[in-house]
């Protein structure tokens, strides 16, 4: 069955959609009360964020828009040293969308939320004219477990740890859109266990950032600018899978500028670099972590290439489009 305008009317069909899909999957005692707002029990300082998800196609190798909507917000909360607790989910659905599709997306959100240890406690559904598109906004709250983590807090000498390989999400989406067959999967995943592991290991984390749109090069430039420091990384230490590298060579894309959805960097004091690396590596989704570089004097981001040349990395300009030859 397809969504039509009456599913957004607030009447019977809206109620059915909420009951048969969202309550069924998101099921928790706060949401189930169906009050106008969720009432939450929160201790101390909170981290609070929001993000919207408009990805096409809705389903791709390694994930879907639902999983992305949960992990994206969860990861943003984690990067502030917070443990995510509650999410809200707003759906904007174009008429013509299959109800079965929405059910699959909601199920995927439930599974991702369970893995991340969060509850989806409030939501909203709107139906608009269109051609069956689905868009999701999530917002989330987490309890700060370690304060003082900030993009402007990086210190000279700090080590930069990258939690795993670059470019997988972007490459998976590109492959899907361009109907290129390969085994590349999106890395979409919650980073809660990596962050918990760093905090439990008493690492004095100075800064954490998930490496999403704009890619590693853009994130490192943001750090350089906010912390008024230089960043130096080593090409030889960057984890990039052979398949992603191959696809990039064909399409003229650069893994340093490609989006990831389950990767982060942690900037930690040099003295704790090895301990922190082990803490990340023993966490789920952190097995392939590497120390990729350090914070240095000066400004901007420099990469020492495998040939020992130096390459300055700027932020991403415009959209990364596949090239002609």
């Amino acid at each position: 069955m397809k969504i039509n305008m009456s599913h957004g009317s607030g009447g019977k069909q809206t109620g059915d959609l909420i009951n048969q899909i969202f309550l069924k999957h998101f099921d928790n005692h706060i949401l189930n009360k169906l009050e106008d707002a969720a009432v939450l029990d929160i201790k101390g300082k909170i981290a609070y964020t929001t993000d919207s998800f408009v990805v096409t196609p809705l389903f791709f190798s390694g994930g879907d828009i639902g999983k992305l909507a949960v992990c994206g917000t969860v990861n943003d909360i984690c990067m502030m040293g917070a443990i995510p607790k509650y999410l809200t989910a707003g759906f904007i659905i174009e008429e013509g969308a299959e109800i079965e599709t929405i059910d699959k997306i909601a199920l995927s959100m439930k599974l991702a939320a369970e893995e991340a240890g969060v509850k989806i406690v409030a939501g909203d559904t709107k139906v608009i004219e269109g051609r069956g598109g689905i868009y999701i906004n999530t917002s989330g709250i987490g309890e700060i477990a370690k304060s003082g983590i900030s993009i402007s807090n990086c210190q000279k000498g700090d080590a930069i740890i990258l939690s795993g390989s670059l470019g997988d999400h972007h490459a998976a989406i590109m492959s899907e859109r361009m109907e290129i067959e390969n085994n590349i999967k999106s890395d979409c995943a919650p980073l809660v266990s990596i962050v918990k592991s760093l905090i439990e290991s008493n690492i004095e984390v100075h800064c954490m950032r998930d490496v999403t749109r704009g890619g590693l090069a853009t994130v490192l430039n943001e750090i350089s600018s906010a912390s008024s420091c230089g960043v130096e990384i080593y090409e030889a230490f960057l984890p990039i899978s052979d398949e992603v590298r191959g696809l990039c060579n064909i399409l003229g894309l650069d893994p340093l500028y490609m989006a990831n959805e389950g990767k982060m960097i942690a900037v930690v004091p040099e003295s704790q670099a090895e301990t922190a690396l082990h803490a990340v590596r023993r966490s789920k989704y952190g097995e392939n972590a590497q120390i990729i570089g350090r914070i240095v004097d000066g400004s901007g981001v420099t990469m020492i290439t495998t040939l020992q040349g130096s390459r300055i990395l700027d932020v991403l300009y415009g959209e990364g489009l596949p090239r002609i030859c």
Partner: protein, 349 residues
Amino acid sequence: MKTLETIKKELKEYDGKNIKIMEVCGTHTSSIFKNGIRSLLSPRIQLISGPGCPVCVTASSYIDRLVEYSLKDNHCVLTFGDMMKVKGSKLTLTEAKAMGGNVKILYSPLGAIKAAMKNPDTQFVFAAVGFETTIPIYALLIEEIIKNNIKNLRIMTSLKTIIPAISYICVNEKKIDAFLCPGHVSVIIGSSVYSEMASKYRKPFVIGGFEGGHIIAAVYEIVRQISNNEYSMKNMYQSAVSSEGNEKAKALIYKYFEAADDYWRGIGIIEGSGLRLKAEYKDFDAGSTSSEDVDITPAGCKCTDVILGRIAPVECPLFGKACTPLNAVGACMVSSEGACGIWYRNCEV
């Protein structure tokens, strides 16, 4: 045999006469930056980017025709990604799309066949831009259109051949000492053609691969030849480039296309430098480039000097000021293969 480390050391410490090497192919330019090759060379060895980015040398009137098609009812323009941001006389395809124009990005020309068969009521125009590397695929596309009797797909070509352009530079630009020849194009056209060029213009022509080590090796060979007053063709990409090239691909090209004078953005008309659909295939032609094409060079834009290797991108007064990848004035700033865009993104300011 010398190790890579020895070669790198010799190139860094080179103190002979100044050498200007033109890398003709945009993929080489890109790899030179990605590998930080310039930082590994003596200041006496200069690498200069040539006219090897097909997007950068396509006339603005060609873009205008694509924009016009994209905005027409029941029409759809199919293109590679980098054409999206090139400015015509007024609009880019990205801007046309935002105005409701129908533009789709493909990664393979053969995807056009699928699109046309799936949407029989839409008239598709494929923007076929490129050098010898991509032209055989356009020939295959025409073959598929004929085989499948597809009536709603035509191609609009802006196809260039590299040898007339290199010859033009050899004749008109005296400051280039040697050429790092395009690897991909050479796979198709072969290495022997450069042997004639080397003896005619008395300059080294070295074919190199695209990995950092390949480029270092090719530069080293050029420096060696110049230091010894030699000039010859050397194929250092033998794993992919043969003497005569890919005969099958060449036959396919000349089955459907024939040489013609063509317009190069920033340069003007170069004799015999384009490929056009033969008269018997004109039904598949949606308005290909010709010597009639025109180009509007924005005031102050030095794309011409950049493409011909007269100046480095940073020497253009608009570079990094009025002209950036987000607001490209000249075509060289647009493509991931364009010299200015590559220089800007890699902060060679």
